[in-house]
């Protein structure tokens, strides 16, 4: 029986493609209003886990979302054809009819504040998706996810294909969203610094669950070695900690 304060409970999750085990016996819980980072090497099944959480692919095991969960999903860098005649405004209108709401959300993802003149939000809204920079497109996608008043946001590598300046704005935006009441954030990342800085809990994944808990304790030499190989070392000051002791900490 999932705990009441959990927004998401996953247990014994298995995903198989063509007899290849992609995820094996993965279980974890996400407490409401938490920020969970999912890390792991390429091919660890991070995006697959997201797709299972969204119900896009078949799986075995259980994924239980709280009945009031409203999920906003930010997909990994969207391959938008440069010549697709679809403006950001038209894209956002797929989900929301009200122009004022769209303005508000586009401002909330930081388009107006950076502007030298006050029409920057209008410029973005009237620009085709294919003409936006990587960072701009990512923020438009975040804006799209924010429409419909979600209480859970899923970010699949929010900064893939985004330049450094754009990366900073995307993460500062995620940081700003964390302050919102009742907003659970689950994000996939490659960057350990980012995980340490923003996540309350981390799930290390390499086909199976390697570690789970607050980043400072869960990510240690052993879990890094299990994910990235023996040479990986980033948090040497934690080497005296026993990872198993900290399993499921924070739940």
């Amino acid at each position: 029986m999932p705990e009441k304060n959990n927004i998401l409970t996953v247990s014994a999750l298995k995903v198989e493609f063509d007899n290849h085990m992609i995820l094996d016996d993965v279980g974890f819980e996400v407490v409401r209003d938490d920020t969970l980072a999912i890390i792991g090497p390429n091919g660890a099944g991070k995006s697959v886990l997201f797709r299972a959480l969204l119900g896009l692919i078949p799986y075995s095991g259980t994924i239980t979302w709280s009945p009031d969960a409203r999920i906003g999903y930010v997909p990994q860098k969207l391959a938008v054809a440069k010549d697709l005649p679809l403006t950001a405004s038209e894209f956002l209108h797929f989900k929301e009819k009200n122009e004022t709401v769209i303005r508000e959300v586009i401002v909330s993802v930081g388009f107006l504040k950076e502007a030298e003149h006050s029409h920057n939000d209008v410029r973005v809204l009237n620009t085709r998706l294919g003409d936006l920079s990587g960072g701009e497109l990512q923020r438009v996608l975040i804006a799209y996810a924010l429409l419909g008043d979600p209480n859970v946001l899923l970010f699949d590598e929010p900064t893939a294909g985004v330049d450094i300046a754009g990366e900073e704005t995307v993460y500062s935006l995620i940081h700003k969203l964390q302050a919102d009441e009742d907003l659970t954030i689950i994000f996939i990342s490659h960057e350990l610094q980012v995980v340490n800085q923003y996540a309350t809990n981390v799930l290390c994944l390499n086909k199976e669950k390697i570690c789970f808990g607050p980043p400072s304790t869960a990510i240690d030499k052993e879990s890094l070695a299990k994910m990235y190989g023996e040479d990986a070392h980033l948090y040497e000051h934690h080497e005296d900690l026993d990872p198993h002791k900290h399993h499921d900490l924070g739940i």
């Binding site: 119900g55 896009l56 999903y73 997909p75 005649p85 679809l86 403006t87 894209f91 085709r128």
Partner: protein, 255 residues
């Protein structure tokens, strides 16, 4: 201008508008050639209808609907889009259609003949066009979201596969409507050309749909007028008119 010509132009404009509008989605979905290939399937349907003395448009429609389910099934149940299979399937139906079609009707079935358009055809085109506009408008957001990102659409509980089937059935309908004007070989062109012309000029999705619809109408009307004045087949006249617009749009396209 006589009443008959006005009637033909109106029906032609309706066909042009609906193919242009539907085609704008086809081009975005990168399925342009499916419309073209699909049109070949109309021929055996027309042949069978002619043999039994039924309206050829109906025969074409039935054949097209069957083929549409076939394409949809293949695209849903295969890892790779089975382009080659579609190619085989359609050339096969074209060949069968060529053998089945009575010889005096063959040229007309292949390239269209507007002189044979009667009241029942007009009613079918009008009904079909209304259906196409209403249904397409109803599914357009879901369809386009699927073009932008299938995962995003599915994450919003949109049944992408069902939307695709509905869309393909509408394409089958528009091809059937165009068969008498343009013939089975050319009716697919009206789904593609006005849409690619519009894509050269459009800055937004709204203008893209409007331009595409507009080029569909203008191509059909100018083509029919040319066909009538010079006594040539309507199919090539309409398609060549639309290609002239395409060439201009290509020259003046926005980058």
């Amino acid at each position: 201008m006589n009443t008959n010509l006005i009637y033909l132009l109106t029906i032609g404009a309706l066909v042009g508008a609906s193919s242009g509008f539907l085609g704008s989605f086809m081009v975005l979905k990168r399925m342009s050639l499916v419309g073209d290939a699909l049109s070949h399937v109309a021929l055996p349907g027309i042949a069978i209808a002619l043999t039994f003395g039924i309206n050829p448009m109906l025969g074409a429609l039935v054949a097209l609907i069957i083929a549409t389910f076939g394409i949809w099934y293949l695209s849903e149940h295969s890892e790779v889009y089975p382009e080659a299979l579609v190619g085989v399937f359609f050339t096969a139906s074209l060949s069968i259609g060529l053998l089945l079609t009575p010889e005096p009707d063959l040229l007309e079935a292949l390239f269209g003949n507007i002189d044979k358009i009667g009241i029942s055809d007009g009613i079918m085109v009008l009904t079909g066009a209304i259906l196409i506009f209403v249904v397409t408008a109803a599914i357009s957001k879901k369809l386009l979201l699927g073009v932008v990102s299938e995962d995003l659409a599915k994450s919003q509980r949109i049944n992408v596969s069902k939307i695709n089937l509905i869309y393909l059935l509408l394409v089958a309908l528009v091809v059937a409507l165009g068969v008498k004007f343009l013939g089975t070989l050319l009716t697919g062109a009206m789904v593609i050309i006005p849409a690619v012309t519009a894509k050269n000029l459009a800055k937004s999705i709204k203008s893209f749909h409007l331009y595409s619809l507009g080029f569909g109408i203008v191509s059909a009307v100018s083509g029919i007028l040319i066909a009538k004045n010079f006594g040539i087949a309507s199919g090539p006249a309409v398609v060549l008119s639309s290609i002239i617009f395409f060439i201009f749009s290509y020259i003046f396209r926005k980058n």
